[in-house]
Symmetry: C2
DNA sequence: TTGGGTGCAAATGTTTTGCAGCGAT
DNA sequence: ATCGCTGCAAAACATTTGCACCCAA
């Protein structure tokens, strides 16, 4: 190895911070880095993400709006996704380990992981919706015929 | 309304059948229709899917390989996804309703749905893997740096 | 000097839209 | 006639790769 990455430590810091968002899209990471004075190419962020995932430091999160997000790997948890504004937050995982085992025995699969996404409307959007219905812009259409 | 859809009933039939795959990508649907002698444009499949989802008849399934799949809406269930070959199957949902309620009370979100995907290796890939490691092609890279 | 990191541009893969024509009501 | 269904082509998006260059070890 002949050169330490300049962006990787900064990206790690973002993912480990308790700032919002909890899980970052590649574009959000690029913008956040820019605000910290570190301009960088999208493809660099991309390659760093791929490497970080391969190394087990980052974890991809897919919620169905067409963009992959990334979060720091430590500690498994579920996700809460607001279908109205796209907010994503972490919630503790309540699944019993016995469930995992039951699925393995019942299906013959070897389960490595699971992803649980609760989909709904966040408190803020609930308030906005009741006060002025349809007043805020819909989610970017993204890459899904479902939205 | 001035014209009944020719493809919609056929597509519904595919999604309701017990044939594999359990959940279909748009391209798989187009190919299956072609085999049934009904050639159609990808965009027609796409628009039909969007409409069917809006009407609540179909449900999108997102597993993180970059393609949205669709399944018939009746009856909620979880999914089992083979990270090696991309197979996707349905498994009964074991989540207690109390969990749903607990999340709502704990977060202030209004939960409309959840999606649970068990990720692992299917029995067939487990066998293939142990017999001839790395012998089969990896998943198509799709649209995700994580795979 | 070498091997990985970076930027830029181009290529992919999938989804989405524009537009013209068709056809059942 | 109308209004939704269709096909074709092009656009939009997010992701991925090719290639040249840079730079700390």
């Amino acid at each position: 190895m002949a050169r330490p990455s300049k962006i990787r430590p900064q990206l790690d810091a973002l993912l480990r911070s308790h700032r919002q968002p909890h899980a970052w899209t590649l574009e959000e990471l690029r913008e956040a880095l820019g605000r910290r004075g570190l301009r960088s190419a999208f493809s660099s962020i991309f390659r760093t993400a791929r490497q970080a995932v391969a190394q087990g430091d980052w974890q991809p999160v897919v919620v169905g709006d067409g963009k992959t997000r990334f979060e720091w790997s430590g500690g498994h948890h579920d996700h809460l996704f607001c279908q109205s504004c796209g907010a994503l937050e972490a919630v503790p995982c309540r699944l019993a380990l016995s469930l995992h085992n039951r699925i393995e025995r019942g299906t013959g699969y070897r389960i490595h992981d699971h992803s649980m996404v609760w989909e709904g409307t966040c408190p803020r959007c609930i308030r906005n919706r009741s006060r002025r219905a349809h007043d805020h812009p819909p989610l970017p259409s993204g890459a899904h015929p479902s939205r």
